[in-house]
Symmetry: C2
Subunit: 136 residues, 2 copies
DNA sequence: CTGCATCCGACTCGATACTG
DNA sequence: CAGTATCGAGTCGGATGCAG
């Protein structure tokens, strides 16, 4: 299988050979941040609104403080989310998507909506699968 | 936040309220199978070809036997992947996408290709982020 | 309100060995 | 070839406590 060679960020030329299937390609890590358990839901929530920390916590049901914080840091570092802290009291921090984050989230939401819309098929498939297994 | 109520699979009516943001909505589990570390790469590989078990292992670099097996079971149960075993010797088992799996993978590949194509931006953002942190 | 630090249990994952 | 079984290290993730 192909390598994912070192890429020199300083080059201005477009670089094609980023390849998620290669073991050590950095694109794999970014894809995991985007599609991970909390990353996908966080981006999805920010796709509709600029949100503050605790607003996010409420939208993404089940996420802990720690994981939300961790997730936001990773997404910020990858340039998908912009963090804006206002030095007021009480503190107010807003998170919103960058242009890159917006493009990414658009595709992600396409996928999420497809899955949501096809859940009846998925549930039916599960019943069939489980029924067959129970038979033996 | 909204619930994700019980859905009766036997209903023929279209069902809208599947909502990944709800803590206990089954769509969240399916989304994780699709977008998870190995799920996404497995679907991506099958998007281009029908593949056998060990062919998949070679395409998805770094996946262990155990995780590939587990991943395939989950995707098969959700109705995204079809498994066809030929009772020959040596055994030959082929995996391919179902129509539902194909639609899902199309969206997933859109996302993957976007991420791959924008990696230069991501790497630049990381350098900026890390540089700022190192400064203090 | 918006976080970071620490602790600790649960669970995931990979390596290995083995079966059909 | 196509898996399953087992086990241990490592990571994930929630709870708690504290700071700005």
């Amino acid at each position: 299988m192909t390598d994912c060679p070192q890429h020199d960020v300083s080059l201005q030329e477009p670089q094609l050979p980023f390849n998620v299937f290669a073991r050590s390609c950095p694109s794999r890590g970014t894809l995991e941040h985007v599609t991970g358990r909390w990353g996908s839901l966080t981006l999805g929530a920010l796709g509709e609104d600029t949100l503050r920390f605790n607003e996010l916590r409420r939208r993404v049901e089940g996420v802990s403080e720690k994981m939300l914080s961790q997730t936001l840091h990773a997404l910020e570092r990858d340039g998908l989310v912009h963090r804006e802290a206002q030095a007021t009291n009480p503190p107010r921090v807003e998170y919103r998507l960058t242009p890159l984050g917006l493009d990414t989230t658009q595709r992600l939401l396409d996928l999420i909506h497809l899955v949501e819309g096809r859940m009846p098929e998925v549930l039916a498939a599960r019943q069939a699968y489980d029924a067959e297994r129970a038979g033996r």
